[in-house]
Amino acid sequence: MTKSTEIRVPANQISVSRRAVASIAVVGNPNSGKSTLFNRLTGLRQRIGNYPGVTVERHVGTLKVGDSSLELVDLPGTHALSAHSLEEQIAVDVILGHMEGTATPDGILAVVDATNLYQGLYLVQQLLELERPLVVALTMADAAEVEGLRIDVSGLIAKLGGVPVCPVVATTGQGVEKLRATLARITELPPPAPGKTWPELTTAARELAALAPEATRLAEVERLLIDGPTEARQDFLARFGDGAEVRLQELRDRLFGNEPPLATEARVRYRWVREVLGEVVQQAPPFYGWQARVTAWLNQPVPGTIGLFLVMAIVFQAVFAWATPIMDVIDSATSMLGVQVNATLGDGALASLIADGVIAGVGSVIIFLPQILILFLFIILLEDSGYLARAAYLMDRAMRSVGLSGQSIIPMISSFACAVPGIMATRVIPNRRDRIATILAAPFMTCSARLPVYALLIAAFVPAQSVAFLNLQGLVLFGLYMFGIIMGILTALLVRKTALRGPKPPFALMLPEFRRPNLRTVLMQLLGRAKVFLRRAGTVIFSVAVIIWALAYYPRSDDVAPFVEQQQQAAVSELSGEDLDAALAQIDNQAAAMQLEQSWLGRAGHFVEPVFRPLGWDWRVSSAVIAGFPAREVVVAVLGTVYAVGDEADEATLSGRLKAARWPDGSLVFTLPMVLGLLVFYACCLQCVATLAVIRRETNTWRWPAFAWLYMTAVGYFGALLVYQLGA
C-alpha cells in the first residue's frame, strides 16, 4: 500500500472512539490493600494481560455504577513518583501517560492504608500535583480503629484541598458503596490545584513551563526539576527551546542549592505530612490484639528463624502430600482419554498425534497443576498475611553472604514449584545484579517437573532400606533437593564474584503487620494463576508436545508393518485368551520401539550417543534426554517408549525395564554410578523452554538465557561425567 492510499485518521479521534468509558488508575503503596479493594470494586469483571515488553501483569477491571461503567487499572504498588524498581517505573509511566497501549488515566484512585498515613500521604501529595481528578480511599479503617488511631476525615479533606476521602474496609465491603458513588462522578470533580504543599516547586515549574510554546503538564515539569535532565527526558526538555537547559539548572540551584533534589523533596514533603498528621490524627492507647502478640513473639530473632523453617517445612509437606491424590486422578484421566482416542480413531498418524502427542504431552504438564496451585496458595497466603516480607528480613544476612539479598528468598521458594513464576517473582528485587544472580540461581531449585524423573530413578535403583531412622530413598531425594540449593548458591556466588561484581546493594524493606488474608483476594489470585498456567499448557507446551511427537513418529519405517503382521499371526495361531492379549500388546510395544529407533529422534539419539557414552548412556537414554530439552518431564514418557524393545520388554513396569536394560556386550546400562550421574545431570541441566523464555523476557536480552543454558548444561554434563567415571 502506498502512502497516498492510506486513510488518515487523527490519532486523537481513534483514542476517543476506542475509549467509551473513563479510565481510572488505582495507585497506592505496596501492602496498602490496593488489590483487595480493586477486586472488591471490579469483582470478576477483570482482564489480566502484560505491559508491552515486560512480564509485569496489567490488571484491568470494569466498575459498573448505575448506567455508567469505569475502567479501573490496578497499578503495581509504589511509594513515590520517583521510581526505583521496574514495577514502580510502570506505575509512574501509566500515571504520567507514557505507557504504550495504556491511555493516560482520566482520574486517579489513591489507595491509602489508614494505619500508614505517613507514607500514604507522601504519595497522595505527589498525585495532587497531577491536575487530574483524585479520590482517596482510606483502607483498613477497621485496623486503624484497633490500633487506636482516630482520623478526622473532614479535616483531612480540607488539608487535601477538597479531594474526597472515603474510609473503607475492603475485606467486608464497609464504605465501598459510598466510594463507588464518588468514583461514578470522578470525571466531574475539579482537579486539585497544584502548589498547596510545596509552592516553591510549583512556582519554579510554572516559570519553566512558560518557556514552552505548547501547553505542558505541570507535574512533568516538576519531575524534570527534581530528577534533572535525564536521558529519558531529553525530548521533553527540547520542547522548551534553546536555553532551557541553562534555565533548568538555575531553577534547580534555587530550589535545592547543594542538596540532592530527592532528599530535599523527601524533607519538604514529609514535613507537610507530619504537620497534617499532627492535626488530623489522634493516637489513643492501642489495643493489642493477637496480631500484635504474634508479631512481638516472632520479632525475637530465634523464635522467628525457627518459625520460618517450620513454615517452609509445612509448605513442602503440603505440596507433595496433598497433591498426590489429585495428580493420580489426572494421570488416569489422561491415559483413559488416550486409550479412548486410540479406540475411536484406530491406528494412524492422526490418532497417534492426538493420543501420544497432544494428550500425553500436555497431560504430562497438566499433572503438575495441583502441586503448583497448592504452592501458590501458600505463597499467596504468606504474602497476604505479611509473612513473606518477614522471611526476607530474617534470611537477609544468610542470603547476603552468598551474594544475594533477603528479597531473593521469595523467588527461590517459588522455584521449588516451578522456576517460571519464581523468576517472575524476582521483580521485587530492586538491584539489577541481585536480580540477575537470583534469576540464574532459581532454575537449580528442584522444580516439580524434576520430581517424576527423580521418583522413577530412585524407586528403581535406590534400595528401600532404612539408614538409622530414615528411609534411604527419601534421604536421596532430600539430598537432591539440597544439591539443587547448593548449586544455586554456588552459582550466585560465582556470578556475583565475576560478571555481576558490584557493591552490595542496600536493603530496605517495609515490614507489614500480620493480617488475616482475605479469602476472596486469595481465591481470585489463585484463579488468575491457574489461568496463566493453563494458557501456557495450551500454547507453548502444546507446540512442544506436537514437535517431539513428530520427531518420534516420522519417518515411518517400511519394515515395521510386515514384522507386526508376521508376529501377530504367529501369536494368534499359538495363543488364546489373556496370553494372546498380552502377546499382542507386547508386539505393539516392540513395533513402536522399532519405529522409534529409526525415527528422527532415534537417529538423533544414535548420533549423539558418542557424546554421552562417557557418561554411561546408551542411545535410548540419549534420545530421551534430547527429547527432554524443551521440557524435562517429557523424559519419563520417552523412556517409557524406548525401553519397550528387546529383552527388557518382558518386564511389566518401566523401572523393571530400566533395571534389565543391557549393552550389546551384556553389561547393565543402569549401574549405580550411571544412575547417580543421570540424577546429577537432571538436577543441573536447564531443560525447560518456558524457563529460557521467561529469563529472556525478564532480562530483556538473549545473553542471560543463553548463558544459563550453556552453563547449566555444562555443569550437568561434567557433573554426570565425574560421578560416572569415579564410580565406574
Partner: protein
Amino acid sequence: MKRNGSTLASLRKGQKGIIASVNAADPQVQRLMTLGLVEGAIVELASSALGGDPMEFRLFGRGISLRQEQARQFAVSPVAAGGD
C-alpha cells in the same frame, strides 16, 4: 550536626530516637528518605534478625527493615521526655 556515634544502628531494642541528620549524598540513602526516614522523624528499634543484622525499626507505627550499614547513615538524638 550530632556525630558522636549516635545513629539508628546504635539504638537499643525499644529505644526511640529522632533523626537529627542524614548523610543524603548517597543515592541509596535518598531512597530511604523517600520512604520517610528524614530529619524530624521519630524512629524506634523494634527487633533485629539473628546476629543483629538487619534491624527492624518502627516509623510512625509501621515496620521498616534496614541493614546496619544503612542505619549508620542516620544520626539520631534522644527523644525529649514525654515526646512521641
